[in-house]
């Protein structure tokens, strides 16, 4: 054997060994992800994970956890340092509580050219950053989402309905742009079985408006949309203005519309279940999170092709001067836990959210990157996307984002859950619930050192 043959053989052998080792190492790499149930989780488990495995040999295992256990279990595993999950989905309100257990994504973002500017600024602020880790990116947005108002266009445009409304309220029947109008229109369309709507007799009652009103997160999510539209919250000096009378005003409004215009069953809905009612022609208007669009436009339903989309109504005389309703920017992002697989986990996320951005929107029906609103393929994907996408883009322009403090979840989100649950159920009086919330928030901020 000549020297050059020997050298080539050796080089070939080394390369083959290196490739084999690389493949073996890639095959051994498994990324574990704690997921919240939903279309996006299904997309990860059923589409992106298998595709990524095919392309790279890296396995991604998505573990879909019950929503009410997700935070507890992620917290316990993170605090315990078990390394059970490399990735964890969560709503940004609680990002701060994981701050000690996640990696700074800034170096990875730079190294792998992840385009942060593809997201609206508020999404970046809310779903990627936390004041618990100033100057860093600690998550990537997967499902930033905010609710909007949907209405039955055919009801609103029907001449009989328009005439009846004009006679009753002395103005034109239009899709409401203020919460006061919303209540009037909801009253107008709340009708018993046997009445008519848009020229047809109702075999079941019609309700003017609905949202998920189930105990806990359901009703809090619904109420918080109205609460933030009033401009309440806490300022940069951490002075809660929750003792402002407007809180009582919005609470009374919410309890009134929820008890008198929404179906009783809404009190069992946690999130999107009630949109079946809209699909089946039993609601004139509803608050819809974008995850519910496939339900309301279900071709088998009565509402398909007759849905109007617009941002939420404005709360007149709101404290912050908003000119449209300000929904809570919910949904969530993905934290990369400090495990040996952190970099590989980030690479997977970048591939899924950026390299496959159009496919991500198609599969998950989540829209947040600029391409999601401009891509012609996506616009043409469904007939209703032409109306929905611009309205949703406008909705995302004016959202309330959680403050990036670790205490936000406990002070504001859970505070809202407790407040509205206790008031709606009648377990506490308005004064008791308000005092309790203000006291808890002040105590939390005092202990955190934000106030004296």
């Amino acid at each position: 054997m000549s020297y050059s043959t020997f050298a080539k053989s050796l080089a070939g052998l080394t390369l083959a060994s290196a490739m084999a080792a690389g493949i073996a190492s890639a095959q051994e790499t498994t990324i574990r992800w704690a997921l919240h149930p939903g279309e996006e989780a299904d997309a990860v488990v059923n589409y992106f994970a298998p595709k990524y495995y095919e392309e790279t040999g890296i396995r991604v295992i998505g573990e879909i956890l019950p929503p009410d256990q997700l935070r507890d279990r992620m917290s316990i595993e993170a605090i315990g340092g078990t390394g059970r999950w490399d990735l964890g989905y969560h709503s940004p309100g609680w990002f701060g509580s994981f701050a000690d257990y996640v990696v700074d994504l800034t170096p990875y973002i730079e190294k792998y050219d992840f385009d942060v500017s593809a997201y609206p600024d508020l999404v970046v602020e809310s779903h990627m950053r936390s004041s618990a880790r100033p100057g860093e990116y600690i998550a990537l947005p997967t499902t930033p989402a905010a609710p909007m108002l949907i209405a039955r266009e055919d009801f609103f445009s029907h001449p009989d309905e328009q005439a009846a409304f004009r006679e009753q309220y002395g103005r034109e029947l239009e899709i409401p742009t203020t919460f006061a109008e919303l209540k009037e229109v909801a009253d107008f369309f709340t009708r018993p079985a046997g009445a008519t709507v848009a020229g047809e007799t109702l075999d079941r009652p019609l309700y003017g408006w609905a949202d998920a009103l189930g105990s806990g997160n359901g009703i809090a999510r619904s109420f918080i949309v109205m609460l933030y539209s009033t401009g309440l919250g806490f300022d940069e000096n951490f002075q809660p203005d929750l003792d402002h009378p407007i809180l009582r005003e919005v609470t009374d409004y919410f309890v009134d519309i929820a008890k008198n215009n929404a179906p009783r069953e809404a009190q069992n809905w946690a999130f999107l279940e009630g949109l079946n009612y809209f699909r089946d022609g039993r609601l004139a208007m509803a608050t819809m999170w974008p995850q519910g669009i496939a339900t309301v436009e279900d071709p088998a339903g009565q509402a398909a092709g007759k849905v109007a989309y617009q941002p939420l109504p404005v709360w007149e005389d709101n404290l912050a001067g908003y000119d449209q309703g300000v929904p809570f920017l919910g949904g969530g992002g993905v934290l990369v836990f400090d495990t040996p697989q952190a970099e590989e986990a980030f690479k997977f996320l970048k591939w899924m959210l950026q390299d496959e951005e159009v496919e991500w929107a198609k599969q998950s029906l989540q829209f947040s990157r600029s391409a999601h609103f401009t891509n012609p393929e996506l616009r043409a994907m469904q007939p209703y996307f032409e109306a929905f996408l611009p309205a949703y883009e406008k909705t995302l322009e004016a959202v309330f984002i959680r403050q990036g403090i670790p205490e936000y979840g406990a002070a504001m989100w859970q505070g809202t859950v407790d407040y509205i649950t206790d008031l709606f159920s009648g377990d506490l009086t308005a004064e008791q619930a308000q005092n309790r919330w203000v006291r808890n928030m002040n105590q939390t901020f005092r202990r955190a050192g934000y106030i004296n």
């Binding site: 507890d72 509580s97 105990s215 859950v417 649950t421 377990d427 506490l428």
Partner: protein, 296 residues
């Protein structure tokens, strides 16, 4: 063989292993819990703990939700006590009848709830019994044209439904103890009652129940302590809702600790539960000793 000193200390050597285990398993967490209850401590910032003295206790006793949970816990515990002990006595009395065949099979069947995990039991009751549309109960009420309520979602019925479900799980314990107790009652007493012409009800009331006094007291304390700290079954059934209608103290403590992340207050609530139960246990032991002395 042993000196006087040894005579008085050797007993300690025998119980030392158990005592040490007890201190480690029960005493240490209790002390840690009490310590945390005197601090302001949040789950997301667990390392930073601020001593606040009895402030958490002061706030808990002023918090209307704590008072509400206390009342709910009392109703829940009392309800479970009445149902579990009541049904326990009735079922045991029936099982003891000479007319009952396949007695051991019946006893085995009655024990099934006792060996079932409370969470599994809770989910089963929620899905198969209480569910509004498909649940067994509403299927039956539907047959008779009666209303089909949302048992677990209406404030008026949710607490009753959780009490019934939990009692279902506790009753087998009562049956087990009462059945064993019944076998210890001398046949002479039954014979004497029969000769005096006592009816079955009279025999139960005047012969059996007095003889079973200590056992009833024993079962009662087990049922009370179990129901008082019940968590799994309630979480599986209602999660403490609707509103706060089934939020007992253990659920309230959990909410404070996990949802509100306020571990100081969660431990305060838990420690007040311990104080209440410890007081109750002391009263029980005193009563039990007196009753046992009287029956002997």
């Amino acid at each position: 063989m042993f000196g006087n000193q040894h005579r008085f200390t050797r007993g300690w050597w025998f119980i030392a292993p158990g005592l040490i285990m007890m201190i480690m398993i029960v005493g240490a967490p209790l002390a840690m819990g009490f310590r945390l209850s005197l601090h302001d401590v949040f789950l997301y910032d667990f390392r930073n703990q601020f001593y606040v003295g009895l402030e958490n206790y002061r706030y808990a006793f002023q918090d209307p939700l704590y008072i509400l949970s206390l009342k709910t816990t009392a109703i829940f515990t009392l309800g479970c006590l009445v149902l579990a002990v009541g049904f326990g006595i009735i079922i045991t009395f029936l099982l003891n009848s000479k007319l009952v065949r396949f007695r051991s099979t019946w006893i085995a069947l009655f024990l099934i709830p006792f060996v079932m995990t409370p969470v599994v039991g809770g989910i089963a009751w929620r899905l198969f019994i209480w569910q509004q549309e498909f649940g067994l109960l509403n299927q039956v009420t539907g047959l008779f044209g009666l209303p089909q309520p949302y048992w677990l979602l209406d404030r008026e019925t949710a607490l009753i439904a959780t009490i019934i479900s939990n009692s279902w799980q506790l009753t087998p314990l009562a049956i087990l103890v009462f059945y064993a107790a019944l076998t210890t009652i001398p046949e002479d007493l039954y014979e004497a009652a029969r000769m005096d012409g006592a009816s079955a009800t009279r025999t139960l009331w005047s012969v059996i129940l007095p003889q079973m006094g200590p056992h009833i007291l024993f079962v009662s304390i087990i049922v009370i302590t179990s129901a008082f700290r019940e968590f799994d079954m309630i979480m599986a059934l209602t999660g403490g809702g609707p509103g706060r209608s089934t939020t007992v103290l253990s659920v309230f403590a959990y909410n404070r600790g996990i949802a509100n992340q306020d571990m100081g207050m969660a431990n305060t609530v838990a420690f007040t539960m311990f104080i209440i139960m410890a007081t109750f246990a002391w009263v029980y032991i005193t009563l039990y000793r007196k009753l046992e002395a009287r029956t002997q």
